[in-house]
Amino acid sequence: MKKDIYAKMQILSDSAKYDVSCSSSGSENNYKTGELGATHNSGICHTFSADGRCISLLKVLLTNYCIYDCAYCINRASNDIPRAAFSPRELADITINFYKRNYIEGLFLSSGIIESENRTTEMMLRVLEILRFEYKFNGYIHVKLIPGSDAVLIDKVVRLASRVSSNIELPSDASLKLLAPNKTKEKVLQPLKLARDLSLERTEKPIGMSTQLIVGATPESDFDILKLSSVLYDKALLKRVYYSAYIPVNDDKNLPALVNKPPLLREHRLYQADWLLRFYGFGYDELLSQERPHLDEALDPKTIWAMQNLHLFPVEINTASKEELIRIPGIGIRGAHKILSARRFQRLTFEDLSKLKISLKRARYFITCHREFQKEVPLYEETLRRALTTPQKGYMPNLFDVSGITGEL
C-alpha cells in the first residue's frame, strides 16, 4: 500500500527519535550571496519537544527497513512495525520547505540498511546532492555514516556534510556481541576513522564527528564509559559523545527487564562529567577510578572531585588562576571570567560576588575572599556533604505552614 507523506513522516521520525544528537553548532558562518542557508557558530534551537529536548534538525530516517537485527533497536528486522521510505527528492523538498519557514537549522539524515550498506549510502548521497547542488543549500547537514560502506562513497558524503557520526551504542565489545551481533566496535569506528583521514587530507580541521552510547542497558560502569569517551576525544576522533539513558523498546532475553523510568539522572551526571573533560581540563581518572567506578547521583561530579581533594581548598578568589577558578564547585567558565575581569579593578568580597550574580550556593564552602571565609561548615567531606545535600533556606513556607518547632504560623 502506498503511504501518504504524513504517514511517512510519522513513521520515519518516530524511528529516528532515539538518536540524541541534535546539535547544529561548531560550523563557521558560511552564507553565500544568491544561495540559501547558513550555519551558525553557536547553533540554534528551533523548538523544544515535549520531552524537553532541543529540536534544531529535521531528524528522520530515509527508510526504516533494515536487514540488521540489533536487540536494542526499534527498527530491528524481526520487529513487526510499520515500515516506510522517503524518496530522496521528497526528503530534500521537505527539508528546504522547513528551512525556509525557519522550522529547522538543517537535516539529520540517518537510515536503516536497505538491501546493502552501499546501496543505502548511495541513496543518502542522493539527498545530499539534491540539497547542495540543486537547491544551493548551505545549511547544516548531519549524516549518520553506514558502517561497512565503501571508502569512495564515504568520501563523497564527507565532502557534502557538515558533521558525520556513527553510533557505538554499547561501550564494550562484549556487550556489542551480545546485543548487536552484526556490529563490532572496530566496524562502527571504521567509517569515522576513514572520514577523519579523508577530511584531514584536504583541510587542517577535520569534519566534526560524534557518537552515541546507551547507558544502563549493559553492565559497564561510568568509569568504563568516561574512559572510552576520553580516549575518543584524545585521538581527535570525535567532537561530541552523546549519552542516552536506556529505554526498553524491545523484549529480548539479553536486555535488562523492563524498568519504569530510564536512568535519566545517571545520564545527566555523565553529561556533567563529559563537560568537565572537554571544557574544564579534567582527566577521567581524576573523576573516577576502578575503586569508585560510579558517579555520585546526589552531587555533581565537580563537587565530588573537590571533596576528594580538600587539600587544594579553600581557593582565594582574588589570586587564583583561571584553571583553579573553574575547578571550584558552582563556578563555571562564565563565572570565572566575571571574577577575572572584576578583580582587575578591586579586591573582591563575598558581597561583590553576589552583586556580580555569581552563585555561591556551592562555591561558598570552597573559597576565601581576601581572607574572609564561611565559618559555619568545617571543611570535611561529611560536613560538606550534609550541608550541600540538605535543602537550604531558599524554601518558601506556605502561608498555612505551621512551624513544627515553635507552632507559629
Binding site: 540559501l36 532541543c54 525556509k100 525557519n102 529505554i247 535519566l264 579593578f345
Partner: protein, 244 residues
C-alpha cells in the same frame, strides 16, 4: 530635575551634550513629559543634529567598538528604563574608557546584563521565528517581544535567506523589516490586513506538527523543562504549539 527626550538614539546624544555643557544633574530621564509635578524642574531636550553628531564622533573616537555597540543596543530595549544608567555610562567612558570594563560599577553591570538579555531574546527568536509562505512565495513572519528585534533579525535572515525576499513584522511596534530585490529596509507599517498564504502552507505546517509530536519520547516526557526552554511568551506565533 527631570529631563525629557524623544526616545531616539540621536535625541539622547543631544541630551548628553546638554547635560555636559549646562551641567544638569537629572534624577530621571523620561520619553514623555510627566503629568503635574510641582517639585521637579522639567527640561525638554530638543533634537539638534549638530550637537548629536558632535557627541557621536566623540563616541566613535573615544570608545571601544563593543561599548558603542552596547549604547546602540540600548535603544532596542524600549520597555526598560536604561536612560540614567546610560548617561552615567557615557560620562564614565568619556572620563576613562577603560572604566567601562569595570563590571563592579553598577551602571556598567546593569547595562551589560540588559544587553545580554536583549541578545538572548534575539538568539531565541532566530530559532523560534516562524515564516509563512505568502501567495507570491515570500516568507512572512510575525514577532512579538518586549525588545525591538526586527533590526537584528533582519540582518540574521538576510544571510540565510539570501536568495529570498522576506518580511519580518513586529505587530505591536508597527515596524517591519522588508527584504525585496536585494535591498533590506526597516519600514513603518501604517495598516495591514492578514495576508493570503500559499497553497503549500497548510501541508508543510501539518508535516511540521506531525514531526514535532512524534519526535518526543513518551517515557522521557518533561513538560516543565519544555516550558523552561520555550517560555509561553515566545509561543504566540509558533504553529506547533498553537495546533495543540
Amino acid at each position: 530635575m527631570i529631563l525629557v527626550y524623544d526616545g531616539t538614539f540621536e535625541g539622547f546624544l543631544t541630551l548628553v551634550h546638554e547635560v555636559y555643557y549646562k551641567k544638569y544633574v537629572p534624577h530621571a530621564i523620561t520619553k514623555e513629559v510627566p503629568h503635574a509635578n510641582l517639585v521637579d524642574t522639567i527640561v525638554e531636550i530638543h533634537y539638534d543634529a549638530l550637537q548629536s553628531q558632535k557627541v557621536f564622533q566623540g563616541l566613535k573616537k573615544g570608545f571601544d567598538k563593543k561599548h558603542v555597540d552596547l549604547i546602540l543596543h540600548m535603544f532596542l530595549c524600549d520597555h526598560e528604563d536604561f536612560e540614567l544608567d546610560l548617561l552615567a555610562y557615557i560620562q564614565l567612558g568619556f572620563k576613562n574608557k577603560k572604566e567601562l570594563y569595570n563590571i563592579n560599577h553598577p551602571s556598567v553591570f546593569y547595562l551589560q546584563n540588559l544587553q545580554k538579555e536583549l541578545l538572548r531574546h534575539y538568539h531565541k527568536y532566530s530559532g523560534f521565528l516562524r515564516f509563512e509562505e505568502l501567495e507570491d512565495g515570500t516568507p512572512y513572519a510575525k514577532v512579538k517581544s518586549k525588545f525591538s528585534l526586527v533590526y537584528l533579525l533582519g540582518r540574521h535572515f538576510a544571510k540565510r535567506l539570501n536568495n529570498q525576499n522576506f518580511i519580518i513584522h513586529d505587530v505591536e511596534r508597527a515596524l517591519a523589516c522588508v527584504k525585496a530585490e536585494g535591498d533590506i529596509d526597516i519600514k513603518e507599517v501604517s495598516s495591514y490586513e492578514a495576508p493570503q498564504v500559499s497553497q503549500n502552507e497548510e501541508k508543510f505546517q501539518k508535516l511540521w506538527q506531525t514531526f514535532f509530536q512524534v519526535i518526543a519520547i513518551e517515557t522521557r516526557e518533561n513538560k516543565a523543562l519544555q516550558r523552561q526552554l520555550v517560555p509561553l511568551v515566545y509561543r504566540t506565533y509558533m504553529n506547533e504549539f498553537s495546533a495543540l
